[in-house]
């Protein structure tokens, strides 16, 4: 019979025995730990592959926000080298700008791209615009389509909302994306996107992602008035900064302001004072040397059916809206710089 073991000082401090059996168990533990890490990575990679085969693999989580990541995935799959006209903004731009009329009008020298994702505020739009321009040297025209909502909550929303290096490698260098599924894995959004793959955007949980070749995603739901919007001066400063930046780069900045939705105005701004102020503030925040403002409120008097909500116009209204923008660009005397035919 073995004598009872007495604990050493170190054992008392650590609360663990120091027998050779325990040390052996610890050695096995450490080996299994390392092997487990490798095994889990292999299982994870296999799982991603299966989801891809099933068509349920979400876009690589650069922001872990599906509609933004889906947009990056769309850009990843395109050849972006020729792009010389870029649409930026939030979902207001993504859902309102159909660039096919531009392509038809200007011909093969124009390579337009609607690169706007969703949810963004002006500080984030400015960040994203700079990011795009750093990697798209041929862009000579930026079309920004904005609504009052884009100018709210800039102080509370983080400006750098994604990792530039990760996004650049994926979108522009066409690098593989498997590591992003490990590095930026968010169980909540990942499982939601796997289980409900036709729910790629928060604005309408039922609508499937359906983007045309130039990046437009049509929106067609019944109009809703939604919430009030309070402008944030930080957003105007962000617009001013991006405008100056574009001017410094010699890029023409065409800013289009969506018209107000009548029912929204009636509910939250009956005299239209805030709406007029917003349009005036935007116009004065822009660099006059390279920026042109097209204020749709001055020429269009749409009814509620023109919109899906105050920040988006209905897909049926988009053709007339795009026609209006084209005419106004010509009226303002803006010449778009086109690529020479090869």
């Amino acid at each position: 019979m073995k004598p009872p073991r007495t604990e050493t000082t170190n054992e008392l401090a650590s609360g663990l025995p120091e027998s050779s059996a325990f040390i052996k168990q610890a050695r096995v533990h450490n080996v299994v730990l390392i092997v487990s890490v490798l095994v889990f990575l292999v299982i994870w990679a296999s799982g991603l592959k299966i989801l891809e085969r099933l068509g349920r693999l979400p876009a690589p989580p650069i922001t872990a926000t599906n509609c933004i990541d889906e947009k990056f995935k769309f850009l990843h799959e395109l050849d972006l080298r020729q792009v010389n006209m870029l649409t930026v903004g939030s979902s207001a731009a993504w859902r309102s700008v159909d660039l096919r009329p531009f392509k038809r009008h200007y011909g093969p020298g124009l390579h337009p791209l609607n690169a706007a994702p969703c949810y963004l505020r002006m500080n984030q739009i400015a960040f994203l615009t700079n990011f795009y321009l750093n990697h798209l040297p041929n862009v000579r025209t930026v079309l920004g389509v904005f609504t009052m909502r884009d100018f709210a909550e800039c102080a509370t929303n983080p400006t750098e909302f994604f990792d530039r290096h990760d996004a650049a490698r994926y979108v522009f260098d066409k690098a593989p994306s498997w590591h992003l599924y490990v590095k930026n894995f968010r169980p909540r959004s990942f499982s939601k996107d796997v289980l409900l793959p036709e729910m790629p955007i928060g604005d309408n949980g039922q609508e499937a992602l359906n983007v045309d070749g130039y990046g437009w995603w049509p929106y067609h739901i019944e109009p809703e008035v939604r919430d009030d919007v309070i402008m944030d001066p930080n957003c105007l400063r962000a617009l001013s900064a991006v405008s100056k930046n574009l001017a410094r780069r010699g890029v023409r900045f065409i800013v289009v302001l969506l018209p107000p939705m009548p029912s929204w105005l009636e509910r939250y701004d009956p005299n239209g004072v805030r709406d007029r102020q917003y349009r005036q503030f935007v116009a004065t925040a822009l660099d006059p040397s390279q920026a042109v403002v097209i204020d749709a409120a001055k020429a269009l008097r749409p009814d509620d059916k023109y919109f899906t909500d105050p920040a988006h116009i209905h897909s049926d209204s988009v053709p007339s809206f795009m026609q209006f923008v084209l005419v106004e660009i010509k009226r303002a005397g803006v010449q778009l710089v086109l690529n020479r035919a090869l």
Partner: protein, 512 residues
């Protein structure tokens, strides 16, 4: 460098540990200690190399004064007291300059109109921790309770990276003797297994739980600061989320510190012991930030006279200790109020204990129900304190407390806006009819924060803590053992954490 960063986990830690073990086994213990000190300085300098000089000067100064004090104590020289006062004042002066000069100047200007024209200074990382660590050493040296240490060991004692920037506040008697144990320089499988498990637990607490909770608490406190009229549900969601966030964040950091240190063979003291399971405030302070509590007790409360000078003086000492403890956490009136509140709680608690004994209900004689109620009341008092601790201003804290008390109703018209997105509201509306899977999923996503907060509150109030789970002797729950099963669990935890670190967030306690 943050523990929850790729640079630390995939670069600094493996390299430092490997070289430390190699030097310890193949060269000498001295070389390993020197390497660990150098690596710790590099770890500190990663944040801002400019403040390395300040840290080095602080170490050099305190080591020299400590040496003089130790010798003076051995020879009972009268020089001891003035030297100690000089040493302590120099440390407090440094801390005061970096941490409190702006606060002092702003309040002086508000009261008298005198503008000292002080420029805002950046608070050097970990200055509160390394200053207190060294003050304790000076006091012990003057009392004749410290040895003459060699400069490399002393430098490592102060700079050892696991505790350097956010504690625990270590005591020289706990750590210095370990540096002369040759066993710590050999790679030890038990230490590594225990260390990596503590590290994985701590990292999970930080990046999986605390960072998620922050997304619930921050909008509420920001709204309170903006003067928004919060409903009781929103206010409670924010206050509870912050209560848990702070615990998981700070105890997570402490677990990581204990685990990392253990990988190097050095045992650090535990800093938390299930504080939200405390049955009164005295108990709470024995469980929350234990190394700070011990420091305040041993070097402030006892120095003020403790309980040796009568009941009234004891209560005044308690109040003063907690007021200064509050101020240690930050230069702001909200911290002062938080400290005063806890000082008041302690006074009431001690008076209550005295009364109980007087009327014949000795301590520890309560029922399980009684203890449950006591635990709940203690937590409530602590939550009220955390509201001041986190709020932007006293005004914002009072507004939030009023909202928690139902001042703006249980659910205001804006209740759903802070936490529930527009599309989720639409899904709510559809739930009354035949909901689709998408609607049910939306509903679950809209209310998941309540499940998360509730679940973590249960864990904090009833589950065993990290040290009970890993090294404790209780057997009424599935305890960790060095086995293939727990190795796989730890591996999964580590991978999950690595996948959550892409937006590196600072530990809350760095600002203190």
């Amino acid at each position: 460098m943050l523990f929850n960063s790729y640079a630390f986990i995939f670069g600094f830690l493996p390299l430092t540990l490997a070289v430390y073990c190699l030097l310890g086994q193949m060269v000498s213990a001295r070389a390993a200690l020197l390497w660990l000190t150098t690596a710790s300085l590099f770890f500190y300098g990663w944040w801002d190399p400019a403040y390395l000089a300040l840290l080095a000067a602080s170490i050099l100064f305190n080591f020299s004064i400590g040496l003089l004090l130790t010798r003076a104590a051995q020879e009972s020289r009268p020089l001891r007291r003035p030297l100690l006062v000089f040493g302590v004042m120099a440390n407090l002066g440094l801390l005061g300059y970096y941490k409190y000069s702006e606060f002092f100047s702003a309040n002086l200007a508000a009261l008298t109109g005198i503008d000292l024209q002080l420029q805002a200074v950046i608070l050097p990382l970990g200055i509160s921790f390394y200053t207190f660590t060294q003050i304790a050493y000076l006091v012990d040296a003057a009392r004749g309770e410290a040895k003459e240490y060699n400069p490399i060991s002393y430098s490592l004692f102060v700079t050892f990276f696991p505790h350097l920037i956010a504690g625990p506040i270590i005591h020289h008697r706990q750590v210095m003797p370990q540096f002369s144990n040759p066993a710590i320089f050999r790679f030890n499988h038990t230490n590594f297994a225990v260390g990596i498990t503590f590290f994985a637990i701590g990292l999970s607490k930080k990046v999986v739980f605390a960072d998620t909770l922050a997304t619930y608490s921050s909008p509420v406190f920001a709204a309170a600061a903006d003067g928004a009229s919060l409903s009781a549900i929103e206010a409670w969601t924010g206050a509870l989320a912050y209560t848990l966030q702070l615990y998981f964040d700070f105890s997570g950091y402490s677990d990581m510190a204990v685990g990392l240190s253990r990988m190097f063979g050095i045992i650090l003291p535990f800093n938390f012991n299930s504080p939200y399971q405390a049955v009164n405030i005295i108990d709470f302070w024995r469980r929350w930030h234990m190394s700070l509590s011990a420091f305040l007790r041993d070097y402030l409360y006892f120095s003020l006279g403790g309980n040796r000078l009568g009941k009234l003086r004891r209560y005044i000492n308690l109040l003063l200790t907690m007021l200064l403890g509050g101020l240690w956490h930050g230069a702001g009136w909200t911290f002062v109020v938080w400290g005063a509140l806890h000082g008041g709680y302690l006074v009431v608690n001690h008076a209550w204990h005295a009364l109980r004994v007087q009327v014949g209900f000795p301590l520890g004689s309560g029922t399980a129900w009684g203890r449950g109620i006591a635990r709940l009341f203690t937590l409530l008092a602590v939550i009220v304190g955390w509201v001041f601790f986190r709020a932007e201003s006293i005004d914002a804290a009072l507004k939030l407390l009023a909202a928690m008390g139902g001042g703006n109703g249980l659910m205001g018209p804006e209740t759903s806006d802070l936490f529930i997105a527009h599309n989720q509201k639409l899904a709510f509306a559809r739930l009354t009819a035949w909901p689709s899977i998408a609607d049910i999923a939306m509903f679950m996503l809209a209310v998941d924060h309540w499940f998360i907060i509730g679940g973590l509150l249960f864990v904090a109030m009833f589950a065993p803590n990290s040290q009970e789970w890993v090294t404790g002797r209780q057997t009424d729950f599935p305890r960790w053992r060095p086995s293939p099963f727990w190795a796989s669990v730890t591996a999964a935890m580590l991978l999950l954490c690595v996948s959550q670190m892409s937006q590196v967030s600072e530990f809350l306690y760095f600002q203190f």
